[in-house]
């Protein structure tokens, strides 16, 4: 791979993969919880919660980046508190990029998992209950395994979407080589330099190949769920 890609390209590629992995996997438990809440419970304000979860789908990513900067900036309330008490700093850091990606791709995960939960038979849960399984037992051994294809589909889709995130990342954590310069940011940077078209084209091809790879993975993951096997 090193022979094909320049050091800067592989740096951007690996950074993109790392940020997206961390973003999607850290968001997963919350996505499962949110999907369970929406699919299995009724409560006042459910529509509002549903709407809030889906806000990142319709809000401009730049706006999300700006909101994150306001909240998690070192002079922002939460950001300052985290820095003082835990030494955690999101701004200008790859963890910040992961946070931004996680929020933007959260709806993709929730939607896929929720669909899988709504499609699975509640009667099986009831059967498990009469056989002595408690709430947590049923979640781990019945609900989640049955929703597994949906969970995988959600993870892969969110991961693919996360690879393309630009606006929120550049607004929140800036464009620092080796720290926050993911593939889309690298393409943007290449285009800013005179004669950077070739470099931008190479990076774009890498992005296209990655996107294709993950979308087909999502397709394969969703297939067993559709045939009901």
């Amino acid at each position: 791979m090193d022979s094909i890609l320049t050091p800067a390209e592989s740096e951007a590629l690996l950074l993109s993969l790392r940020i997206s992995s961390v973003a999607v996997l850290c968001a997963l438990p919350f996505a499962v919880a949110a999907a369970l809440l929406l699919a299995r419970t009724q409560f006042i304000g459910k529509t509002l919660v549903d709407g809030l979860i889906h806000v990142p789908l319709v809000l401009p990513p730049v706006a999300i980046g700006f909101l994150l900067l306001t909240v998690f900036g070192t002079r922002g309330g939460l950001g300052g508190w985290l820095l003082v008490h835990f030494g955690i700093r999101f701004v200008f850091s790859w963890t910040g990029a992961a946070l931004a990606s996680a929020i933007i791709t959260f709806p993709f995960q929730v939607r896929a998992i929720r669909l899988a939960l709504e499609g699975s038979d509640l009667g099986l849960n009831q059967a498990a209950e009469t056989l002595g399984a408690g709430w947590w037992d049923r979640l781990v051994n019945i609900t989640l395994p049955l929703a597994f294809p949906g969970i995988v589909a959600g993870v892969v889709t969110a991961f693919a979407a996360s690879l393309g995130e630009f606006g929120a990342i550049i607004t929140f954590v800036s464009n620092i080589p080796g720290e926050t310069r993911t593939l889309p940011l690298a393409i943007y940077t290449a285009l800013q330099a005179p004669g950077g078209d070739v470099e931008a084209a190479r990076l774009s091809i890498i992005s296209i190949l990655l996107a294709l790879l993950f979308m087909s993975l999502a397709e394969i993951a969703a297939r067993p769920a559709r045939t009901g096997a």
């Binding site: 009667g123 498990a128 209950e129 009469t130 056989l131 002595g132 395994p145 597994f148």
Partner: protein, 362 residues
């Protein structure tokens, strides 16, 4: 072993208000037309439905009491629930399905008991298979085994045969009979098929419109002439407990019952075995004089006990043969011609007798 049930729940367009007790090990049928509240009752016993009012005790242990705010979670009630649609876990092998409840119960069946259940239900060759590769009948048997291995105090069966075709039913019924005879468990069997009830049950609770309209032994209730009106169902017939006698020189075997003997052909059970026979109302002809030259093997002298002729075409006649009740269905014309009335002695010509497999109790 006993289950005491009192339930009241108002669904708006339908109100459930039932009270009954299931006494001994054996099958108690909850019988009634669709929408009479049968499944709701066993859901309440299992803890998957919460009635507005009620008291439910399993073996003297209160699992639900609305007055005392007792509502034990379903997972602690130790009811073995066999659902109509089996509800096997599709992501687990048959083996893991079977042991799902076993792994979660305190008083685990030992390996010998597990082997017994697996042999009883003929599951050995299915253990490594997956639910999606099983036939409907096999699924039903696995569901039964899974419930049994959870060491339940009562088995709740919600029309376990309803989703199956006639062939699969015939495949699984013998297993249910063996279960009834070998597992020392009270079983509550929901059904709207009178022939299943006649074959399996000892006791019957007849439900209609959310209320108990009859309760008693199948031997008594199934010969009640009111039953078709009460339960909106099925032709009546007699269910009679008998004891197998010696095989006779002419090849027939005598089955002794309280009131006489019945002759049947080819019976697998050895002398002394208790078997249950069923005689459908359509299988009995009535004669005023003894028919001496007739192909039927069974002609019994009986007494008319009750006549019911509220139907346009036929009349049901309840007959007493000693202490045993039979029911005959004849045409209105025959009823008038024979001039049948309670107390009148007649000869019952029995065209065919259905012998069920071994039964241990009652």
């Amino acid at each position: 072993m006993s289950v005491d049930v009192f339930l009241a729940h108002d669904f708006g367009d339908f109100a459930l208000d039932v009270r009954f007790t299931v006494g001994q090990p054996g099958v108690t049928a909850l019988f009634g037309p669709s929408g009479s509240g049968k499944t709701t009752i066993i859901n309440a016993i299992a803890g998957t439905f919460r009635p507005q009012q009620g008291q439910i005790a399993v073996n003297g242990r209160t699992v639900f009491d609305s007055a005392k705010q007792v509502d034990m979670p379903a997972r602690l009630r130790h009811t073995g629930y066999v659902f109509q649609d089996s509800r096997l876990f599709p992501h687990m092998s048959v083996e893991d399905n079977l042991l799902f409840g076993w792994r979660r119960t305190q008083k685990k069946a030992d390996s010998g008991e597990i082997a017994n259940v697996i042999a009883l239900l003929g599951l050995e060759h299915l253990r490594q298979r997956w639910p999606r590769n099983l036939s409907g009948g096999e699924r039903g048997r696995v569901a039964l085994g899974r419930a049994l291995l959870s060491s339940p105090e009562i088995l709740l069966l919600d029309e376990p045969l309803a989703a199956l075709d006639a062939e699969r039913r015939a495949e699984i019924l013998p297993y249910l009979e063996r279960l009834r005879d070998e597992a020392r468990l009270p079983m509550l069997y929901v059904s709207h098929q009178l022939d299943e009830v006649a074959r399996l049950a000892h006791e019957i609770v007849v439900l209609r419109g959310g209320r108990v309209v009859r309760q008693g032994s199948v031997f008594d209730v199934l010969t009640e002439l009111e039953l078709p009106t009460l339960a909106g169902a099925a032709p009546a017939g007699a269910v009679i407990p008998t004891v197998v006698g010696e095989r006779r020189a002419d090849g027939l075997t005598a089955l002794a019952f309280d009131g006489g003997t019945l002759l049947v052909q080819e019976i697998a059970q050895p002398p002394g075995t208790k078997v249950r026979v069923r005689i459908r109302a359509e299988e009995i002809m009535l004669a005023l004089e003894e028919p001496r030259t007739i192909s039927a093997n069974n002609v019994l002298l009986v007494q008319v006990n009750e006549v019911r002729h509220d139907r346009a075409t036929h009349a049901d006649v309840q007959l007493l043969c000693g202490a045993t009740r039979l029911v005959a269905r004849i045409t209105r014309a025959s009823l008038q011609r024979l001039n049948l009335a309670p107390g009148k002695p007649v000869f019952a010509v029995i065209k065919s007798v259905t012998v069920d497999t071994q039964m241990s109790a009652g």
